[in-house]
Amino acid sequence: MSSGKRVLVVDDDVDFIDAIRLTLEAAGYEVAAVNTAEAALRVVRERTVNVAILDMMMEEPDSGAMVAHALRRRPEMKDIPVILVTGVTEQTGYRVVTDSPEGRALLGVDAWLDKPVDPQELLRKIEALTDE
């Protein structure tokens, strides 16, 4: 059951993170969960991460997008798939972004899931993004 793949989960809601951790661990993933964008960057510097799940709005608006952006700028991290967890439409500092190819490209994310996340859909997405 153990895939050995590590998932980084970044969200400022401890309960949400706990629920996602339980869901992912039950599916055999290793989970690194942090509460802030800063902590997320620390994790990816120190450890291998196979996929990152980011909340769009943490301590600041757009912080999820900022993490995604920071990941994309680092050569060794630029290939980490990013799943953004947020509402269907999000008023960001840039513009109103929707879940569309353009919206995902603008924010530098590979997938977009609404909160609350359907556990089966989350697992399918992670599998698709980490299965090369």
């Binding site: 309960d15 949400f16 706990d18 629920a19 039950a26 008023q91 909160k115 609350p116 359907d118 556990p119």
Partner: protein, 499 residues
């Protein structure tokens, strides 16, 4: 006075002549006054109003001609008829040139007299009517002038910028506000010139161009690019009866305030949406874990999850309460509160006892120290309970297990006339940068230590509103990891309590 009859002055130095005329004219219904000399006539004339004067041309003393001129000076509407002998016919002609209406030659028959009077009187009434019409016209002109100056004053003192351009697109009028809003310093535009991009925002010019070109629209409104200040322009096309455009009236107004209000509203709504979505998302995510059987073999964990879900729904209910409170406070800010002298001691006791249960659960001790000579404050009791309950609640919530809370009330040493209530905790404290942001709606200090603590981020916002409404002050001191002190200063009752 009936139709066709008038008030007539008869001036003649021959008594028989005077009385003869009076009898004839009075029998026709006229009212007649007589005078035997020009001097007497002037005195009578200036006292009463006469429609017609019958003047003997040749009198001793003041001549009829001179009297004619003097009478017309006093009342230009009076109609004068000269009475003369054939011998002085030439003089009579001269008199008509000087403003007499007609003459009648002596000796005359009663019919000749009445017919000349009947011809002359209508002239008087025409003159009076004309004079009245003239006076009316003058009054109207004055009104128009007043109206114009009033309109000018209104336009000059308007906060909105106003500009009128004619059919040829040339400036006809503008007011000082326009110059100010468009940020023109010394180089105000000349009347008669066509507004150019050198002085006017291109956006405004293109909107005007559009208004000139568009046939049907009579009113266009648009926000202008750029700023601050944020400007909006409304343009009305003025048309003649045939619908031809005569020009534009352009009004420019500052919408900075409205826009920032709109922005604050929209920020607030998205913050509320976020605050609702986080707990709902967490609760749903947890319930999915249980429903998917992930924790089926760990009843302890399931119970913990359900307890957290219950706690989060409690926080959601609190959020709804806080939002309603905040909206009530903002509404109340506009109306006068009824403030009554209030003793803070018993009230603080109440606030402390509300927090007792949650304090016990965390093993936090609460101590209340209220000076016995504490002056009362003029306050709304319910709001004071809310204020101090919030502060004591926070002091427990953000405390460490086994910590303590001290609630101390005394006369403010540094601020005479104020009562100070301090709520000090031994909790997580705050980074310096966070203190300035306290009281912002939904702002919560987010550190590792506060992650597990549920809150709406509205509590202090509500506290601040209550304190401000009571003309008080909130001071915060805090050290991260050590604890915080929230100091509320409230003005003491002006008269002694109970007096």
């Amino acid at each position: 006075m009936s139709e066709g009859t008038g008030r007539i002055l008869v001036v003649d130095d021959e008594r028989g002549m005077r009385e003869g005329c009076r009898r004839i004219l009075e029998s026709d219904g006229h009212r007649v006054t007589t005078a035997e000399s020009g001097e007497e006539a002037l005195g009578v004339f200036s006292k009463g109003a006469f429609d017609l004067a019958l003047l003997d041309l040749k009198m001793a003393g003041m001549s009829g001609l001179e009297l004619l001129l003097r009478l017309r000076e006093i009342d230009p509407n009076v109609v004068c008829v000269m009475v003369t002998a054939y011998a002085t016919l030439e003089t009579a002609v001269q008199a008509t040139k000087s403003g007499a209406y007609d003459y009648v030659a002596k000796p005359f028959t009663p019919d000749e007299l009445t017919s000349v009077v009947d011809r002359a009187l209508p002239l008087h009434w025409l003159r009076v009517e004309a004079a009245q019409a003239r006076a009316e016209a003058e009054r109207n002109l004055l009104l128009v002038a007043t109206e114009q100056s009033r309109t000018r004053t209104i336009i000059q003192s308007m906060a909105e910028g106003v500009m009128v351009t004619n059919r040829e697109k040339r400036l006809v009028l503008y007011n000082p506000a326009l110059i100010k809003l468009l940020g023109m310093k010394s180089e105000a535009p000349e009347l008669g010139e066509i507004p150019e991009a050198r002085l006017f925002p291109p956006d405004l010019l293109s909107l005007m161009e559009e208004a000139y070109n568009r046939g049907e629209t009579t009113m266009m409104s648009r926000e202008l690019a750029g700023g601050p200040p944020s400007l909006a322009a409304s343009i009305a096309t003025i048309r003649d009866e045939a619908g031809e455009s005569l020009g534009l009236v352009t009004v420019v107004r500052d919408i900075t305030e409205a826009k920032s209000l709109q922005q604050r509203m929209s920020d607030f709504v998205s913050m509320v949406a976020h605050e609702l979505r986080s707990p709902l998302g967490a609760i749903a995510q947890y319930l999915d874990v249980i429903l998917n059987g992930i924790t089926a073999d760990n009843p302890e964990k399931e119970k913990q999850i359900l307890a957290r879900c219950r706690e989060r729904t409690g926080a959601l209910s609190q959020l709804v309460r806080d939002l309603l409170d905040l909206s009530r406070l903002q509404h109340l800010a506009k109306v006068e509160r009824t403030l009554a002298p209030l003793r803070l001691g018993p009230l603080l006791q109440e606030a402390v006892s509300f927090a007792a249960q949650s304090a016990k659960a965390r093993n936090v001790t609460i101590t209340l120290e209220a000076a016995c000579d504490l002056p009362s404050v003029d306050a709304d009791r319910e709001e004071m309970v809310r204020l101090f309950t919030n502060l004591v609640d926070n002091a427990v919530k953000y405390n460490r297990d086994g910590g303590s809370v001290l609630v101390a009330a005394r006369q403010a040493g540094a601020a005479p006339g104020y009562v100070a209530v301090e709520v000090t905790d031994t909790g997580v404290g705050m980074p310096q940068g966070a203190i300035a942001r306290l009281g912002e709606a939904f702002y919560r200090v987010r550190t590792a230590a506060t992650m597990q603590i549920t809150g709406t981020g509205l509590g202090l916002s509500i506290c601040r509103q209550i304190i401000e409404a009571h003309h008080g002050q909130l001071e915060v001191e805090s050290e991260e990891g050590k604890g915080s002190t929230f100091r509320v200063l409230l003005p003491r009752t002006q008269r002694p309590a109970g007096a």
